[in-house]
Amino acid sequence: MRYKKSQHVSTETVFAAIGFILAAFAIWGMFDAAKDVLDREALYKNYLARDLALIMDAIYAAPGDIGYTYTINPKHPFFVRIREGSIDVSGEQDFKQDETFSYRFATDKAISFQFTDSFGEEKLPEYDELLKNPMKIRINKKTDLGKAMIEAQYTQK
């Protein structure tokens, strides 16, 4: 029995097909790994933590009273918590350790500090709502009777 040339699938063709399938798996794996890094938004969380820490440093430095509002980019909104000496940024409201990125700043022992989470919700609003009303950090430094105090608030208002 003789096969027509067009009906014969050569061994090389089969191997080439296997090679393409393996390469497709490899490419999919690499894209998936890159997407995983980007989805965790590690870079944006790192940036936000560092930016806020530098702002806190600058506010501690300034003499007199200051009011400052930091608006968080609606494209990359996160939960933010400011502890004395540290900024924590997370995608989750419970600030799980593996989801939280932190950066420290120097405090001043002569200045008291207070942070309030005025938002208090478990989920961040949708992008459309954040475009109209983004998440903010409001920081106020006041001096009263010679004692300075910094109040920071995480809010949407």
Partner: protein, 172 residues
């Protein structure tokens, strides 16, 4: 040659080649995936400015008006504990030295105990006994270690013109 021999002859070198290419591609992607933003230099600059501009820093400050006279260094404020209270970092995150040279001595190697040079530190022991050596080594050899961020400015200290040399050390 049988089919299985042909398969092995094809598969082995191609599999090895594929693994090498995968590892190389992964390495390139990881090398360019930046998840760290290095702000230490900016942080060191702001820390230095904090010492000069803060009412609790080293500059003279009027407690009644709250005005800070930057450029006028108060000898009373030029103390280690004052600096450690103003820049309250957790120990191990930063150390600093400010040298107020009123004699115009150029060399940066002059020790602080030399005549006419006053020094104040953020964590003196950490600075002098541990980190300054590592910072010099890091500068020469490179790699992980301690980064030094120096800064110079002129000011009035004890009613004399002084050159203030500030060096902030931070781990890389």
């Amino acid at each position: 040659m049988t089919l299985s021999e042909k398969t092995i002859m094809w598969l082995v070198p191609n599999a090895v080649f594929l693994i090498i290419v995968l590892l190389a591609n992964t390495g390139v992607i990881l090398a360019f995936t930046a998840t760290n933003v290095d702000v230490k230099e900016t942080e060191a600059i702001i820390s230095t400015e904090r010492l000069h501009y803060s009412p609790n820093g080293i500059s003279k400050a009027d407690t009644e008006t709250g005005r800070v006279y930057t450029g006028l260094i108060s000898a009373e404020n030029f103390k280690n504990d004052r600096i450690e209270n103003t820049l309250a970092y957790e120990e191990g995150l930063a150390a600093a030295r400010i040298k107020a040279d009123t004699n115009g001595i150029e060399s940066k190697d002059i020790a602080c105990k030399a005549a006419g040079i006053s020094c104040a530190y953020l964590y003196e022991d950490k600075y002098e006994k541990e980190w300054v050596v590592l910072a010099l080594a890091s500068e020469k050899i490179g790699g992980k270690g301690i980064s030094a961020y120096p800064e110079q400015r002129t000011a009035i200290f004890e009613n004399k013109a002084a050159r203030l040399e500030t060096v902030v050390l931070m781990p890389k």
